[in-house]
Symmetry: C2
DNA sequence: CGACGATTTGAAGACCTTCAACCACCGTGG
DNA sequence: CCACGGTGGTTGAAGGTCTTCAAATCGTCG
């Protein structure tokens, strides 16, 4: 990726939401409806997709499952930058090498593309651009969660984020571990756990298993978020 | 911005750094060397450039001065998303309305463009795309600062970020107030002040006035950052 | 000089973390 | 069948970091 990567794209304005995967469903449908320009890959839980420092020749689109982008500090601290769900594109970096690790949160199926493919494929290019804009909006929302929120507000914001993935339904299925949530929110697993219990005690949510949360009062949660 | 915004661009891979304004100098030079496709505007300190919710028809390039993008929460808390310095493009949003406020940190000069201009102007489009990719990388770095760093490390990271703006020189001129720094780092002004004193006491920096900092040991600061 | 805002410093308290123990779930194997 | 061990999650108590509230100092501009 030395110098010129042609990047023409008719991009569709997605009325940018900061929430995960607005339009994710459409994109899933697209994957199924159209021939996929990339090759299909499978990864099992916690498997590395690429590593910080690897050659960033490819980027990926999630067909099914969930992927985390994370970074490790020298002393072992881990920071999760983002989660990618079905329809999301990730790994398209403006650099020779990846700056993060990408790992499968659970078993997942990905379509892989070469960065050079965006030169010829208008539709793909447009999707990549939309994806980058969406990532930017999400990253900004993430900085707000991390920068000026209490633990309870962070937890509420996280749940609202994930509730948006399945818009119809009140139940949120947390596919990631408490450690993943903690490293995403800049908390410890104990605090995450405590905040879950607190939100339940305060009537915001109810739980039927650690990873299955029902939102009892979405409006109130959203108020904590914004 | 209803649906199709043509977005073809030959973008140059800037070997993406997360630090502020890699290539800022080139872009400044470009501003001076080429006819500016946008109209020139001036803003005085603390003046609003646009507000959260305004129509996002335009975007801007900083010619001189510094701009902050920030968001206000209902209860008055403020979060600073990013600072934009000479050469940076900001306000190019994938939505009908801005999601943040943009304000002049100090007196500044901007070039303003309509979003539709990117359709015809290849060079501008390319710059916008590079800018978006750079913003994304910076936002990710910002989430890391906020998410898994102590106050001292945040302060060090911030100084390193600003030192990169004037790469040659050891002295950093902080154009923004302590409150701005605090709202960017998710700290209070008192903590920012204390960390400045601490870093000075520990020999990382020395100060000749509150906003003029000399980095005595850049390598050590960088170690705190990464 | 004097006044005002910005910054620094101090002391007490809140929130989150750390360290530790406990619980729930699940597959294995006796 | 139940005992056992392992993993992931929850809860409790003590401690540390950052915040809050308050006061002092610095800098700038009239």
């Amino acid at each position: 990726m030395s110098s010129h990567l042609a990047f023409p794209a008719n991009y569709t304005d997605t009325a940018g939401s900061y929430l995960p995967s607005p339009g994710a469903r459409d994109q899933i449908n697209f994957v199924h409806a159209s021939p996929i320009a990339g090759s299909i890959l499978h990864f099992s839980q916690d498997q590395e997709i690429y590593g910080d420092g690897d050659n960033a020749e490819h980027f990926y689109k999630v067909v099914s499952g969930t992927v985390r982008s994370c970074k490790f500090l020298d002393d072992g601290r881990r920071h999760i930058e983002s989660f990618h769900v079905a329809g999301d594109i990730f790994g398209f970096e403006d650099a020779v090498r990846y700056s993060v690790n990408a790992e499968a949160v659970n078993d997942c199926t990905l379509a892989s593309y070469r960065k050079t493919q965006v030169v010829d494929d208008n539709h793909l290019r447009s999707q990549v651009f939309s994806s980058v804009m969406r990532d930017l909006a999400r990253a900004h929302h993430h900085t707000m969660l991390l920068g000026c929120k209490s633990a309870r507000e962070k937890m509420a914001g996280f749940l609202i984020e994930w509730a948006a993935i399945e818009p119809g339904c009140r139940a949120v299925n947390l596919v990631m571990s408490r450690q993943d949530i903690a490293d995403y929110l800049g908390l410890t697993i104990e605090t995450v756990s405590r905040m879950m219990s607190l939100l339940e005690h305060q009537g915001y949510i109810s739980r039927s298993g650690p990873r299955h949360v029902e939102l009892k009062n979405r409006a109130a949660l959203r108020a904590l978020d914004a």
